[in-house]
């Protein structure tokens, strides 16, 4: 058991990723406040990323200590890759200090099951991202607000549980590779219909961009998510042309509520389910893997399908 009590600077430099399940404001405060206060007492970096209401509640309980950094959920939790990069950047910066980072955060779980699933995956990937950093991250789960599937996922993605301001091992935890590796995603029903765009042997990215724009009547900028999808498709298609095996084919389906785009090459693709979530260096995203990271940052879903016939990346945005 790791307790929330102060530790000497330089000690306890490992990472901890707890799930904190609570059902009342009193329980939130009685768990989080001693944990955060202990961090302030030993000069740790203390960060809180909860709803406006809970941020205010915690700030007051900590005597409005100016050393506590409060971030809004909106500024951090827009999409999983961006949230991971934001935290990675913060941890990288704070690593130079002697103490560690203590963070209480709550993902604002969206209503859509697929978007929610993206955040479950985020929690799994977070374990890998945190590994090199001296950080104690406590993820709040307010049972008053959350659907049952969120609470199930939280038990599978957190190596430890936060109870009475201390961390205890979680027997249900699954390693990220295990949690993220799922059966190949099913085709989206829209893929049964005739695509709006069909390119069978991609050579020219500019022609592809023009073709995609035509599918939105040249008004992609007005369709929420469409322009981001075009950027993401370009990166995925660039990867396919550069690293995959020809021919590269592209399909786009559009409906009033979403767009689905597949990019397929004849190569083997890759097998790491964490691909595209993490940057090797969050302060310099261009150091590697930036194309897929960008695609994940810009799309609601990015899925990989490995089949004998080839490797497909499927991108989905909701309008």
């Amino acid at each position: 058991m790791v307790t929330g009590q102060p530790t000497a600077p330089g000690q306890n430099r490992g990472c901890t990723h707890d799930a904190f399940v609570y059902d009342s404001d009193e329980m939130l405060l009685s768990g989080a406040v001693p944990f955060l206060q202990a961090g302030l007492d030993c000069d740790d970096t203390v960060v809180v990323v909860c709803s406006y209401r809970k941020n205010a509640l915690l700030a007051a309980a900590l005597g409005n200590d100016p050393r506590v950094r409060f971030l809004t959920q909106r500024s951090v939790y827009q999409r999983p890759p961006g949230a991971l990069a934001t935290y990675q950047e913060l941890l990288e910066r704070e690593r130079r200090r002697p103490g560690r980072v203590r963070l209480v955060g709550e993902v604002p779980y969206p209503d859509g099951p697929q978007e929610r699933d993206g955040w479950f995956r985020y929690e799994a990937v977070l374990n890998r991202m945190l590994t090199p950093y001296p950080a104690w991250v406590v993820c709040g789960y307010d049972t008053r607000e959350l659907a049952p599937d969120v609470l199930v996922a939280c038990e599978l993605t957190h190596p430890s549980l936060f109870k009475e301001s201390a961390s205890t091992p979680n027997p249900l935890y699954q390693e990220p590779e295990e949690y993220l590796r799922r059966p190949a995603p099913l085709p989206d029903p829209v893929q049964e219909t005739s695509p709006a765009l069909r390119v069978d042997d991609l050579e020219d990215l500019r022609a592809l961009r023009d073709g995609l724009r035509v599918c939105y009547d040249g008004r992609a900028a007005d369709v929420p998510g469409a322009r981001d999808l075009l950027t993401a498709v370009d990166e995925v298609a660039t990867n396919a042309l550069r690293h995959g095996a020809p021919p590269v084919s592209v399909r786009l389906w559009t409906t009033p509520d979403r767009s689905v785009c597949t990019v397929t090459d004849r190569g083997e693709g890759f097998d790491d389910p964490v691909t595209g979530y993490l940057l090797s260096n969050a302060s310099a995203p261009l150091s590697g893997g930036a194309g897929l990271w960008l695609a994940r940052s810009l799309c609601d879903q990015v899925e990989f399908v490995r089949e004998p016939a080839g490797f497909t990346v499927r991108l989905t945005v909701h309008h």
Binding site: Q78, G82, R206, R227, P285, G291
Partner: protein
């Protein structure tokens, strides 16, 4: 797909000077030449060119112009379009003398079109590069513009860096172009996997002209992906490590968003100046 790039290609006002058109097909070549000649004729400029009916693959200028709806015959009769035989065009003095004669004869401006394929068959590469350098000087000192046509994949032209360096007044290819800009250069068009290599070469050549700061104006760039952003970062790495600054000016909103998502502006020696003068918050 049709090569429709050319009409936009020479649109930027600062098009004059010693220009390069890299083409990978006869269609692209024809489009570029026709757009350039049309612009010159519209401005009442004298145009001097050469072509070779006998040389395989290089279409005769008049036929090319006709295909693009430009009446070259009428322009020739009006004395605005002048064809020099190959041996005259590329002999010492050659087209330079003809251009000076045209200016002396009352033409306000002259533009000259030359084809590197033919030039390189008539002179060694070193002499050709010296000629290119002389052409740059000539354009600075007289109202003369020169368009040099190159096929970058032709085996005879593997000295692309030197070529780009001598044509920084304007490097053009199918979907990208440059124009001079105070402190550096402006790019326009679309930058992707296809022209990333030329984008890098052009940036490297532009770095050779500055000491402390290179300005890259991006307002005309309608597409730039991760590869282009990476090119901006890696080609200037040594320059920035040595204290230099790369100033990226006025990117369009989508390009700016991408650059900021990739944290480009936070790298040492990198400055990003929004078109609006403000920064975008919360790009994620």
């Amino acid at each position: 797909m049709p090569d429709t790039f050319a009409e936009d290609l020479f649109c930027p006002p600062a098009h004059d000077g010693h220009l390069l058109l890299l083409h990978t097909s006869e269609a692209q070549r024809g489009d570029g030449v026709a757009a350039w000649v049309r612009q010159g004729l519209n401005r009442g400029e004298k145009i001097i060119y050469t072509d070779a009916h006998v040389e395989q693959g290089s279409g005769a200028m008049l036929a090319t112009l006709r295909d693009h709806g430009v009446d070259g015959e009428a322009a020739t009769r009006a004395g605005l379009l002048e064809r020099l035989p190959l041996e005259v065009f590329y002999r010492p003095g050659g087209w330079m003398d003809a251009a000076q004669r045209a200016l002396g004869g009352g033409h306000r401006r002259v533009r000259v079109a030359g084809d590197a394929r033919m030039a390189l068959r008539r002179m060694p590469r070193e002499r050709h590069l010296a000629l290119e350098a002389a052409a740059t000087d000539l354009c600075r000192g007289a109202p003369i513009s020169i368009l040099c046509l190159y096929d970058p994949v032709a085996a005879s032209v593997d000295h692309l860096d030197a070529i780009v360096t001598t044509h920084l007044d304007g490097v053009h290819e199918r979907q990208m172009g440059t124009a001079p800009h105070p402190g550096g250069l402006a790019f326009f068009g679309e930058i992707d996997l296809r022209n990333e290599d030329l984008f890098r070469r052009t940036l490297r050549a532009a770095l050779g002209r500055v000491t402390a700061e290179l300005v890259v104006e991006l307002s005309g760039v309608t597409f730039l992906g991760v590869g282009g952003a990476r090119a901006l970062v890696t080609t200037t790495q040594t320059f920035r490590d040595g204290g230099g600054t790369l100033r990226l000016e006025a990117p369009s909103a989508p390009v700016e968003r991408l650059l900021r998502m990739l944290r480009v502006e936070r790298l040492p020696g990198m400055e990003l100046e929004s078109a609006s003068g403000t920064t975008l918050a919360g790009v994620w």
